[in-house]
C-alpha cells in the first residue's frame, strides 16, 4: 500500500496540478490506467483523468444470494463509495446509471444464477466523476475477464452560458457551466448506452454534445486498446 493511497482527509488540493486553461479546441485531460493492482478482487483497475481518480474492483461471476438470483442471467451489482462520508442518495443514483450501462454490455446470459459485483471507490474528484467511474468499471470488467459484447466509455460535456462546449470539464468548469451532460458510449458503433444531464440546453446543443462525445470516445477507446495491447504484449 506504499504510496498507493494518499488520503487527503478533508482538504482536497485541486489547485496544484490543474491542467492549464484549454483552448477553444476541446481536449481530454491526461489519462492513466493501471490494471490488476489489487490481489483479492477478480479484476481491478484504477483510472485517472487529470486529477480525478477512481479505483474499481470486480468480483464475478460469483455466488449470488437466492433472493437476488435471476434464473437466466447474471445479477449485476454496482457499489459506489464516495471519498468522504457514508454513501447517500447521489451515490445510489450514480450506481443505478452505471449498472444500467454495464447491464447493456455484459453478456449475463452466459453466467446465469451468478452475481457480478463492481465496487467503485472515489479517490479524488476533480470533475467528470461519473465518466471516470464508467471508464474504471469497464477496465476492471475487462481485467476480470467478464464476457462483454462491447467496451464502453464515459464522456462528460459541459456547456457554458455562451454556448461553448468543453469536454472532460474540471471541477471549476463544471461549477461555472450552464449544463453538464454525461454520455456512455459503446465501442462497436459508438452508440449511446446511457445519458444523464443536469441543467438547461436546447435539443440542437444536445446533439452537438453527443457528436462531440462520440468524437472523444474514439480517443478513449484507442487508449483502452493501447493499454491492453501493452499489457498483453509479453505472453
Amino acid at each position: 500500500m506504499e504510496g498507493a493511497m494518499q488520503a487527503d482527509a478533508k482538504i482536497r488540493s485541486e489547485s496544484g496540478t490543474e491542467s492549464g486553461p484549454r483552448g477553444p479546441a476541446c481536449s481530454l485531460r491526461h489519462f492513466a490506467c493501471e490494471q490488476n493492482l489489487l490481489s483479492r478482487p477478480d479484476g481491478s483497475a484504477s483510472f485517472l483523468q487529470g486529477d480525478t481518480s477512481v479505483l474499481a474492483g470486480v468480483y464475478g461471476p460469483a455466488e449470488v444470494k437466492v433472493s437476488k438470483e435471476i434464473f437466466n442471467k447474471a445479477t449485476l451489482e454496482v457499489i459506489l463509495r464516495p471519498k468522504i462520508g457514508l454513501p447517500g442518495v447521489a451515490e445510489k443514483s450514480r450506481e443505478r446509471l452505471i449498472r444500467n450501462t454495464c447491464e447493456a454490455v455484459v453478456l449475463g446470459t452466459l453466467h446465469p444464477r451468478t452475481s457480478i459485483t463492481v465496487v467503485l471507490q472515489v479517490i479524488s474528484d476533480a470533475g467528470s466523476l461519473l465518466a471516470c467511474c464508467l471508464n474504471a468499471a469497464c477496465m476492471a470488467l475487462v481485467d476480470a475477464g467478464v464476457p462483454m459484447r462491447a467496451l464502453f466509455c464515459g464522456v462528460t460535456c459541459a456547456l457554458n452560458s455562451d454556448g461553448t462546449l468543453v469536454l472532460d470539464p474540471t471541477a471549476k468548469q463544471e461549477k461555472e457551466a450552464r449544463a453538464i451532460l454525461t454520455f456512455a458510449l459503446d465501442s462497436v458503433e459508438r452508440k449511446l448506452l446511457m445519458s444523464t444531464t443536469k441543467g438547461l440546453y436546447s435539443d440542437a446543443e444536445l446533439q452537438q454534445c453527443l457528436a462531440a462525445a462520440q468524437a472523444a470516445s474514439q480517443h478513449v477507446f484507442r487508449f483502452y486498446r493501447e493499454s491492453l495491447q501493452r499489457r498483453y504484449s509479453k505472453s
Partner: protein
Amino acid sequence: MAAPAFEPGRQSDLLVKLNRLLERCLRNSKCIDTESLCVVAGEKVWQIRVDLHLLNHDGNIIDAASIAAIVALCHFRRPDVSVQGDEVTLYTPEERDPVPLSIHHMPICVSFAFFQQGTYLLVDPNEREERVMDGLLVIAMNKHREICTIQSSGGIMLLKDQVLRCSKIAGVKVLEITELIQKALENDQKVRKEGGKFGFAESIASQRITAFKMEKAPIDTSDVEEKAEEIIAEAEPPSEVVSNPVLWTPGTAQIGEGIENSWGDLEDSEKEEEDEDGTDEAIILDSLKMDTGVEVSNIGSQDAPIVLSDSEEEEMIILEPDKNPKKIRTQTISAKQEKAPSKKPVKKRKKKRAAN
C-alpha cells in the same frame, strides 16, 4: 472491495473490532493535541474525521489501517483561523496557507500471530496465516518505545517474556516504519514546494506493464454543429402530447383519468353504481386532502370523514352513501373517482369481516 466476504452496509465483527482498536490507538493515546483544535472556548471547535477505505485485504489490515490513519493526520492541513475578541475569521486555503495539526507522537500498530499455543510467532501475518492462527496480539507503539495500546485476542495464553519479546520486535518495526513515513512526508512537502506533481496520480508506476498513460488529447469538434443539424433535420418531430390538468383546489391537481378499478371482481354483493365508472387506485392521502380540506364547490352533499387505520381491531366508521350519487357523478366525475376508491377498500374490509 477488500474481500468478497465484505458486504456493504453490514457492520461485521471485524469492522467493529478494527474501529475500536484504532479509536483507542489514536484517540485515547492523545497523539493529536485536541486543545489546539479549539477556536473559541466553549463555543467553536474543529472536528477531525478520518475516513478509512479498505481497498484490498491480504492480511493484517490493522497495521495498514493504523499507518494510513496516522500518516493522513500528519499530512492533513486545516484552514487557518484567527480570533479577534468576538470575531472569528476563517481563511480559505487560497488566502492563507493551511495549518497542520499538532501531533505529539505517531502510534503505529504491529500485529503478531501465534500458532500452536504460543510456540510459533509470526509478525505481520498475511491472509492465509490469519485464517489459521490461534491468536493475535496487537501492540501499538510510537518511536519513543512507549506502548499506546496493547490487545490480545483469540484466547491464547502468553507468557510474560513472550509479550516482552513481542514489544521489542514491535519497537524495531515501529522505528523503521516511522522513518519511512517521515521520508514520504518530506518528499511530498518538497514536491509541493517546488510545484511538481503530487497525489495519487503520481503513484501509478509507469514502468509496469499493467499501467498506461496518455497525455492530453485534443479533440476535433469542428464538425459537430453540422452533424447535429443533420440529425435534427432527419429526425421526426416528437408526437404531440396534450395534457389537461384539472386544478381542484390550491395544491391539488389531477392529470388523466386513471385506470379501471379492479377491486370490483372481489366481492359478489356490491352496489352497482359503484362499479360503473373507471376509477383509479387513488392514493389515500389524496382523498384525505379532498375530504378534510376544502370541498369542491359543486358537490352537494357532505361525506362523512374517512377514518383510516391499519388496525383491523378498531371500529370502522360506516360511510353513508352520497345523497344524490347520480347528480354528483355527472358534475364532478373525476372528484367522485378520487373519492370512491378510497371509500371502497374501507367498505370492503368491513364486508369481509362481516362475512367471516
